[in-house]
C-alpha cells in the first residue's frame, strides 16, 4: 500500500475552514487525514514554508486537440497545468472538430489519461458543431464524462437555444458556461471600445456586447432554474449584473481571468497582438471592479482562459491576429502578486476560487482535503519570487502577455491522485 505524508506545510483548505500548519496523510490515492498526526508513510514530502492546499482546478482552458496540435495538445496542456500548479483542468470544446459528442468527450478523457499528468475534464458543446443552431447530445456527453456545457469561443447567441440549454442541462445537474457576447454589438471589434480604441483607430468592442448578454442570460437562468456560469467577465457592468442576479436568488456563477485583474487597454497602445484577447482588456475602473467582485463573492472563480496560438499568427496586424493568451503557468504568481500581496483578498479566499468553487460548479468531488477525497494536492511557495520566461513554459505556445514580469508565488509540487509530480 502506497502512503504519502506531506509534513509541516501551511495547510489551507477553504472547504473545511482549515488554515494552519499541519500534516496531510494520503493513502491509495485518497486523503486520509489532515492534522498533527504524522503516521509512518512510504513517502514523505517536507513542506515547511510551503502552502499545502487542495489541488488547483483551472476550469477554463483551451487544449487545441484535436485540430491545432501545433499550438497545444492535451499532453502539452496537461504538462503546462502541472508546471502551473494545477491538478485538474476543464477543456473547452472549441476544437476542430468541436467536442460535441460522447465519442469526442471520451477521446479527451482518454488523451488526458495517456498523458497521465493533470486530470482533464471535458466540457461538451452546447450546440451541434458549436453552430448555435440546435442542442448537441448533452445527455450522451454527460454519460461520456462531460462536466459542463459551453460553445465557448462563441456565444450561444440564440435566446431560445440558450433557454433550452439551461433547461436541458439542469436535468443532468450540469451548468451552461456562456461566453457572454452579443455578436452584433461585437461586430468587427478587436479591442475594448473607449478612448484608447479611438486614439489607435482600432475597431472597438463595446462593454455592452458583454453586459447585455449577461443580463439576458440571468433572466433566462431565473425563468428556467438552470445554472448559468458566466465565463471570463471583464466589465463593471457585468459584475453588477451577476451581483444583482445572485441577490435575487438566480443560479448564476462567474469567473475572471488574471489578465482582466492585472492589465488594461492601455497596453494595446503598442499594437502588440499579445494583448489581444476576448473579452478585451478593459479600463482601470473595470479592473478595480473585478477585484471588488472577487472580494465580495460576486465572482466565484479565477480561471486562466489559457488560449494557445502559434507565434506566426500572433505576429499578424492587431486586427488580423487571433484573440487569446496562455495563462496556466503564470496564474498562481499573478493571483498572489496582484490580489493577495496588496491585501485585496486573503490567500484562503484566493485558493477557494481555484479549488472548491470550480469543483462545485463542475460537480467534481474535488477541491477539498476532506478525508476520502481524491488525493489532489498543490504545494506552492508563497514567498518565492521568479521572473516569467515564456521560453521555459511547458505549453507549446508563447503568447504570454506577462513576459519578463517578476512574480511572487511559485508552484513547487503537485500530487495527482496520490502521485507526486514536480512543477519543474
Amino acid at each position: 500500500m502506497t502512503t504519502l505524508l506531506i509534513k509541516g506545510g501551511h495547510v489551507i483548505d477553504p472547504a473545511n475552514n482549515i488554515d494552519a500548519v499541519a500534516n496531510v496523510f494520503i493513502s491509495d490515492g485518497k486523503i486520509v487525514s489532515v492534522g498533527d498526526k504524522a503516521p509512518k508513510a512510504t513517502e514523505t514530502i517536507e513542506a515547511k514554508g510551503l502552502v499545502v492546499c487542495p489541488g488547483l482546478i483551472d476550469m477554463h482552458v483551451h487544449l487545441r486537440e484535436p485540430g491545432k496540435e501545433e499550438e497545444e495538445t492535451i499532453a502539452s496542456g496537461s504538462a503546462a497545468a502541472i508546471a502551473g500548479g494545477f491538478t485538474s483542468v476543464a477543456a473547452m470544446p472549441n476544437t476542430e472538430p468541436a467536442c460535441d459528442s460522447e465519442a469526442q468527450v471520451e477521446f479527451t478523457i482518454l488523451q488526458g489519461r495517456r498523458a497521465a499528468l493533470a486530470n482533464v475534464f471535458p466540457i461538451g458543446a452546447v450546440s451541434k458543431g458549436r453552430k448555435g443552431e440546435e442542442l448537441a447530445e448533452i445527455g450522451q456527453m454527460v454519460r461520456g464524462g462531460a462536466v459542463a456545457f459551453s460553445d465557448d469561443g462563441a456565444p450561444v447567441h440564440n435566446a431560445a437555444l440558450m433557454r433550452l440549454a439551461l433547461q436541458y442541462a439542469a436535468m443532468f445537474d450540469r451548468c451552461v458556461i456562456q461566453h457572454s457576447e452579443d455578436p452584433n454589438l461585437f461586430g468587427c471589434g478587436c479591442m475594448h471600445e473607449g478612448r484608447v480604441s479611438m486614439e489607435l483607430g482600432l475597431e472597438g468592442i463595446p462593454a455592452a456586447a458583454e453586459e447585455s448578454m449577461i443580463a439576458r442570460d440571468v433572466i433566462l437562468a431565473k425563468s428556467t432554474g438552470g445554472h448559468l456560469h458566466a465565463a471570463h467577465i471583464s466589465t463593471r457592468g457585468s459584475a453588477a449584473q451577476v451581483r444583482a442576479g445572485k441577490a435575487s436568488g438566480v443560479r448564476v456563477t462567474a469567473e475572471v481571468t488574471p489578465h482582466h485583474f492585472t492589465l488594461t487597454d492601455d497596453r494595446v497602445r503598442s499594437y502588440d497582438p499579445v494583448y489581444k484577447m476576448n473579452p478585451p482588456l478593459r479600463e482601470g475602473p473595470d479592473v478595480q471592479a473585478m477585484i471588488e467582485a472577487l472580494r465580495d463573492g460576486t465572482i466565484d472563480v479565477i480561471a486562466s482562459d489559457h488560449a494557445p496560438h502559434a507565434t506566426e499568427e500572433k505576429e499578424l496586424e492587431f486586427g488580423e491576429a487571433p484573440f487569446g493568451v496562455i495563462g496556466l503557468e503564470t496564474m498562481i504568481g499573478l493571483v498572489i502578486t496582484f490580489l493577495v500581496e496588496p491585501g485585496h483578498i486573503t490567500l484562503a479566499r484566493a485558493i477557494e476560487t481555484m479549488t472548491i468553487n470550480p469543483a462545485k460548479i463542475l460537480r467534481l468531488a474535488k477541491g477539498t482535503l476532506s478525508p476520502g477525497a481524491d488525493a489532489d494536492v498543490t504545494l506552492f511557495d508563497p514567498k518565492k519570487t521568479w521572473t516569467v520566461t515564456a521560453a521555459n513554459f511547458k505549453s507549446r505556445s508563447r503568447n504570454c502577455p506577462f513576459e519578463g514580469w517578476k512574480l511572487k508565488g511559485r508552484p513547487e509540487t503537485v500530487v495527482v491522485g496520490g502521485r507526486v509530480l514536480s512543477c519543474r
Binding site: 483607430g201 499594437y271 505576429e315 496586424e317 492587431f318 488580423e320
Partner: protein, 345 residues
C-alpha cells in the same frame, strides 16, 4: 546595410542652437511636441521653392533609396511622396503590394524584411491596419514614414493641412477649426486634431452622433451635431470624405441624401460662413455628397493648395527621416548639401 540614425545624425555637426528631431520615424502627430511640429513646418518652408519647381533639384538624398509600400489604394499621397523624394535627389522604388500581404500568406513584417534586405533607407508605408507602421519600426532598421494606417493617423496630411492654414491665415493659434464628417473612421481627423490642438487652435468636430464617439472630448475637442449652428463660427472648415468602405455592419447613418442634407457643404450653407473662411478637403472628393462642386471649386476652397503644400511637407519629412539635422535659420538646401558632403557616406 541601411545607415543607422546615429551615424546619419552624426554626419552633420549640430550647431549649438540647432534643435534636434525626436526620431527619424514619423508614425503619428500624437507623439510629436508642438515644437517639433513647428520645426517640421519650418523645414517645409525651406523647401517651398524647391517643391514648386521642376527646374531645380536638391542632391541631399543622392544615393539614398526611398521605397513607397502602399498596401491600400492611393493616388495623390503616393505621387506626392515619390515626387518629394526625387526632388531631394533620392532613388525611389514603388513596391506594389497586393491588396494585402496576408493574401499571399506572408506577414507584413516578412514583406518589409524582404524589401529591407535590398538596403533601403526610408520606407513610406500605407496600410489598412492601424498600427502597422509602428509594428514595422520594431522589426526593420529603415526609417518608417506613415502614409496613412487604417483609422489611426495620416501624419503628413495633418501637417500639410496645418501648413495650408498657416499660409493663408498666418497663424493657427486661436483659430476655430471645424472637422466635419466621419471622425470615427478617419485617420485624417485624428492627425488634424493632434496637430491643431497642440498648436492652440479651437477644434470642433461635427457629424452624425454615430460617427463621433463621446470619448473625443478627452482629446480636447468640442463636439457639434448641428453644422448650421457651427459653420458661421468657423475660421477653417475641413470636410472629410465619407468612407463607406470602412463601415462594417449596418450603415451608421440612414442615407447619403440625409447625410448631405445635414452635413454637406453647399453654396447656400457657405453663405452663412465668415467671408474669409478656408474650405479644405483631404480628397478624393465625393462631389455632391459631403461637398458640392461650386464650393469645392469656389473662391474659398484651398483644396488644390493643400496638394501643393503636401509636397514641401513631405520633403521636410523625408529630410528628417534621412537623419539630417534641421536647417538652422537662414540655412538653405544648398548649405545642407555642402554639410552633407562632409559626412561619411
Amino acid at each position: 546595410m541601411p545607415r543607422t540614425p546615429a551615424t546619419a545624425a552624426a554626419s552633420k555637426p549640430a550647431a549649438s542652437s540647432s534643435p534636434a528631431w525626436s526620431s527619424r520615424h514619423l508614425l503619428g502627430l500624437q507623439e510629436l511636441s508642438a515644437d517639433e511640429i513647428r520645426l517640421i513646418l519650418r523645414q517645409a518652408e525651406a523647401y517651398r521653392e524647391l517643391a514648386t519647381s521642376n527646374a531645380k533639384k536638391s542632391a541631399l538624398l543622392k544615393g539614398r533609396l526611398v521605397v513607397t509600400m502602399f498596401v491600400e489604394p492611393s493616388t495623390r499621397t503616393k505621387v506626392s511622396f515619390n515626387l518629394a523624394a526625387r526632388r531631394l535627389g533620392a532613388d525611389t522604388l514603388d513596391f506594389a503590394a497586393g491588396s494585402s500581404s496576408l493574401s499571399k500568406g506572408e506577414t507584413l513584417v516578412d514583406t518589409a524584411l524582404n524589401i529591407e534586405a535590398m538596403a533601403i533607407d526610408i520606407l513610406v508605408v500605407r496600410h489598412p491596419a492601424s498600427g502597422s507602421p509602428e509594428s514595422l519600426t520594431r522589426q526593420v532598421k529603415s526609417a518608417v514614414v506613415n502614409a496613412g494606417d487604417g483609422a489611426h493617423e495620416h501624419p503628413t496630411q495633418g501637417l500639410l493641412d496645418v501648413d495650408t492654414i498657416l499660409a493663408h491665415k498666418g497663424k493657427v493659434e486661436g483659430l476655430r477649426v471645424g472637422i466635419v464628417g466621419d471622425i470615427l473612421h478617419s485617420r485624417v481627423a485624428r492627425s488634424n486634431i493632434w496637430a491643431l490642438t497642440k498648436l492652440g487652435a479651437e477644434v470642433w468636430v461635427c457629424g452624425p452622433s454615430t460617427l463621433i464617439p463621446a470619448e473625443l472630448q478627452e482629446f480636447g475637442v468640442k463636439i457639434s451635431h448641428d453644422f448650421d449652428d457651427l459653420l458661421p463660427k468657423l475660421d477653417v472648415v475641413n470636410i472629410l470624405r465619407i468612407q463607406l468602405e470602412r463601415i462594417k455592419g449596418p450603415p451608421m447613418f440612414p442615407s447619403i441624401r440625409e447625410y448631405a442634407r445635414l452635413f454637406g457643404l453647399n453654396g447656400a450653407r457657405l453663405k452663412t460662413a465668415k467671408k474669409d473662411i478656408l474650405v479644405m478637403h483631404p480628397g478624393p472628393l465625393n462631389r455632391g455628397v459631403e461637398i458640392t462642386p461650386d464650393v469645392a471649386d469656389g473662391p474659398r476652397s484651398v483644396i488644390l493648395d493643400q496638394v501643393a503644400h503636401g509636397l514641401a511637407v513631405r520633403m521636410a519629412v523625408l529630410h528628417r527621416a534621412a537623419g539630417f539635422a534641421p536647417f538652422a535659420t537662414g540655412d538653405s538646401p544648398a548649405e545642407a548639401r555642402s554639410a552633407k558632403a562632409g559626412g561619411p557616406q
